[in-house]
Subunit: 304 residues, 2 copies
């Protein structure tokens, strides 16, 4: 099975606290590390939690607010100092490139790293990365500025061969790869053994949905439906729904309602306002609606 | 006596580690906080070590390398979110303003904070701040880009009145303030009592010198002479003197030699290369030359 996990690098909202850095996460899929948002100090957290920064080739930036991007100049600067070569792909609003070019000219190091910017589409759901094993999709959220969520979907693996059927029909080795990919078996006499008699189901595919910053947005339910893990912002507790609406954020109650509507397996809430010294009340009110809720802490790792 | 202390927010060189943030320090003088350099995460360290960020009105930036400035956008953004009003003075190379304006336009918050940039003079020693109690001077260092050190000097306090003399000469209250400032006493009959018979010496004045990043630079000795505390970079151990020279940095041996030449009371070395998991060998070789040496750790506070 592919290893697939999410580690929280920062779980605070705009103001970091002594315990919570601003937003950033690492999605680990086998040997690949995907960075989602890059708040100040993300590179420090990566080192603290034992990640090899050089394995990051793709960075996804939900929106251009400081608490989601101010870690980028230091991150890239350090990647250059570590001697990273090749390409680094940054998927973000096109304005990011302007900002970064202003910052990076003070880096002043010789670099073999080519930073490639890919503009996100903030109007419609778009596949922004895909290889044989994983697909990453951006989808519009609704915040004060253009903002996207990201869906990480493991792609179906090959079917498993049924050992007993292989023996029974004496399946030649040359055909096994085709059968794993769904082909039927045609015997020497011309009779056909259907694939389902030869195989067992593939591993179930898993998915992770990242949703921050956003107002409660019901129409994303169809996109994130059934996700194994949903990270949804819960900047405020339920009693501050008016403030949440006004600032285009969500409450813990709304995050839980969305998780329930989407039928996800597990919800992690985060992006907490620094006004909450403890987030236990936010967690409790979310659990009352959606019991499988956890509150993010920096350093927490969720295996899918 | 004025309270006067230095707290290390970051003691790493270009690459932060899990234990050491990039360069930043707070000089506390009574109720004023002066920030010296602002590497990534400085605002997080300030919160962690219990400082009230709103008390920072002056930031001094030695030079425009990322590990000394990438914490500025987040710092200013957070000051705005905290509702800081009035003026924030940033003393730095004039190019900093260009970079910051590119970053700050993504902050997108309404602000009552006016950021005022003051260009440093990288050619000669210059007084950059002075009030009744403290004077701050910049002086040229030698690095790959224009770079300054900073000297914080407590100004002489008033003389102390000698209680016995006050009684002996029945000094009127109206004259005491003048006497504290050095005036002689003229008695009714016209005879003069010299000030030195009426007063005891003022508190000794203290000073703190900050020197990073720089090649070994002997000509700063006259500027920092006799400082109570010298922070000097020691990026490398003595065996890497060639690399230090090539990268315009110093070794721990050179930092100690400079401290000895300048006759400072105490040396703190910092800005350690991330290659050193432990800096005890750097500390040992510095102490062999200048025994009153300490190795900086994030969070260390030195009272002057």
């Amino acid at each position: 099975m592919n290893s697939f996990s999410v580690t929280i690098l920062g779980s605070s909202s705009a103001l970091p606290t002594a315990q919570r850095f601003p937003t950033s996460q690492v999605v680990r899929f086998n040997e690949q590390l995907f960075l989602v948002d890059c708040g100040e100090g993300a590179q420090i957290q990566l080192r603290k939690f034992g990640f090899k920064m050089g394995r990051i080739n793709h960075i996804f930036i939900s929106h251009l607010h400081g608490d989601h991007i101010y870690g980028l100049p230091g991150m890239i600067s350090s990647l250059v100092l570590y001697g990273k070569k090749g390409e680094l792909h940054i998927h973000a609003h096109s304005d990011l490139q302007l900002m970064m070019e202003g910052m990076m000219k003070f880096m002043n190091e010789i670099t073999d790293l080519k930073v490639i910017y890919h503009p996100l589409n903030f109007r419609r759901t778009s596949v922004i990365f895909e290889d044989r094993k994983i697909r990453i999709t951006s989808f519009p959220l609704k915040h004060r500025v253009s903002c996207c969520g990201f869906l990480f979907q493991e792609l179906p693996t090959e079917l498993h061969l049924d050992k007993h059927a292989l023996e029974r029909y004496d399946v030649p080795v040359s055909q096994r790869s085709n059968i794993k990919n769904g082909a039927d078996l045609i015997l020497a006499g011309g009779s056909v053994i259907p694939n389902k008699e030869l195989t067992l189901p593939a591993n179930p595919t898993r998915s992770y949905a990242f949703c921050t910053d956003t107002i409660f947005k019901k129409d994303i339910v169809s996109i994130i439906a059934g996700a194994d893990l949903l990270y949804h912002e819960a900047t405020f507790s339920g009693d501050l729904a008016d403030l949440a609406r006004k600032t285009f954020h969500s409450t813990s109650v709304q995050a839980a309602e969305l998780a329930k509507l989407a039928g996800v397996k597990k919800l992690v809430i985060g992006h907490f306002s620094s006004r909450y010294k403890s987030v236990s009340s936010l967690l409790e009110e979310a659990r009352a609606i959606f019991p499988e809720t956890l509150a993010a802490n920096d350093g927490d790792c969720y295996d899918l």
